[in-house]
């Protein structure tokens, strides 16, 4: 079937202290998640500037997910609280511009939650696969 052939490109920004370790744990535990997820390690989820997300879409990402420590567990005390507000505002704006809201997500994954990391990624990839290619925030120059 045609549908199954489409593999979305997912960019996952993972916080160094929790989610990146969570991804590591998922790997160590042999928990499978799609190889189309490209992980970018950031010192804290609040390092992710809205521009990063838009640029990821520009460069061909079909979905962008930001993973950080659970609220209250931030290595820098309050970073992820800011992430929460910033991304809420940004996602709402993207939705306002008619860009599919399902393409962006924030998820809290701790260093111990390897299974949650794998499950989250599987679920996100599935959601984005159902949406198909990112057409509304694409830069055709980058698709040649």
């Amino acid at each position: 079937m045609q549908v199954n052939e489409y593999k979305p490109l997912i960019v996952a920004f993972c916080c160094n202290w929790c989610s990146y370790a969570g991804a590591d744990l998922a790997g160590n535990n042999r928990l499978a998640y799609p190889a189309d997820v490209k992980i970018i390690r950031v010192p804290c989820s609040c390092r992710v500037n809205p521009m990063f997300i838009l640029r990821a879409f520009q460069r061909g990402a079909d979905g962008v997910i930001i993973c950080g420590c659970h609220p209250g567990d931030c290595h820098y005390t309050s970073g992820n609280y800011f992430t929460r507000r910033r991304m809420a505002a940004l996602f709402s704006m993207l939705d306002f511009l008619g860009i599919e809201k399902e393409r962006t997500r924030v998820e809290w994954v701790s260093a111990a939650e390897g299974a949650k990391f794998a499950a989250t990624m599987n679920d996100f990839v599935q959601t984005v696969t159902a949406l198909g290619q990112n057409k509304r925030l694409e830069d055709l120059r980058c698709k040649k």
Binding site: P50, M51, S78, Y81, R85, R86, A89, F91, F96
Partner: protein
Amino acid sequence: MQKITREQLIQKASELLENGTVSAVLGWGIGEFDYDVTPTVFSTVEELKNGFVFNDFCGANFSKYLVKKTDKIEGKILVFLKPCDTYSFNQLLTEHRFDREKVYAVGIPCEGMADIAKVKAISGDGIAAIGSDGDKLVVTTLYADEPVVIAAKDVLAERCINCKSKKHVAYDELMGEEGEVIESNRFDEVARLEAMTADERFAFWQNELSRCIRCNACRDACPACTCEKCVFDNPNSGVENKSPANEFEEKLFHIIRAYHVAGRCTDCGECSRVCPQNIPLHLLNRKFIKDMNDFYGEYQAGAEVGGRAPLVDYTTEDLEPGEVFDRGDNNA
């Protein structure tokens, strides 16, 4: 028609100049026609008499000029502030962008400013003169035999139709009476868009943003955009592309522009006023304001000096980014 007259303002400014309170006046300078006014610094009474103007087309928000002008001038500068300008004034003070001690702010009442494009849409092009008669504008054109009489309320600028406040939140001296914060319908248009389907919204913005010529007027006029070096001018930012090369660039620029002022935007409407392509940019800003009001409680940027904007604040109980859609979408 404005309640306060040019003569009253000149008199006030002259007094303050002559008694040494201020050394310069930031006001509206007369133009070629009756509607094109230029922000001008006057330093003598003579200059005021020859060049100062106040009418229904004095829309420019002077707050941002204070950042540069207070640097240059010895002594205080007099600035006339309409109610909406005072919010920007406070916001800039919150961000320490100019020295309050160097400014003498006079609050002036405002009955809403006219949009010349709306005037021309009614009167036709070729305007010879615009006079006023009570709450009407009398427009003489090159092509109509009789002057066209237009009710001032029919040609109000969009931001004035949805005026959020007639109250001055900052001044050293107030001319006229203190107004009230108004229960406006300014979020209606945002709500109307929110109620559309994603496809409709996408089509709407695609059409609006496709007109962008990336002149940066929205950014350069914005009293919240006072960065010394804008990310869009920084050759190392990777987004300094200068031109709306394609649809992505258009969206990127406008999302980031609006995002950078989110929480700090006082909704003064300068961005839409100056846009040569009439893109309703204020809707992007209002969406952020509306969202933050909904998510984190009512907040008006610039209502007071030192307010803590929602995006630089947090509570442990904030809603999750994924939850915003369950609330906002389609039921606003």
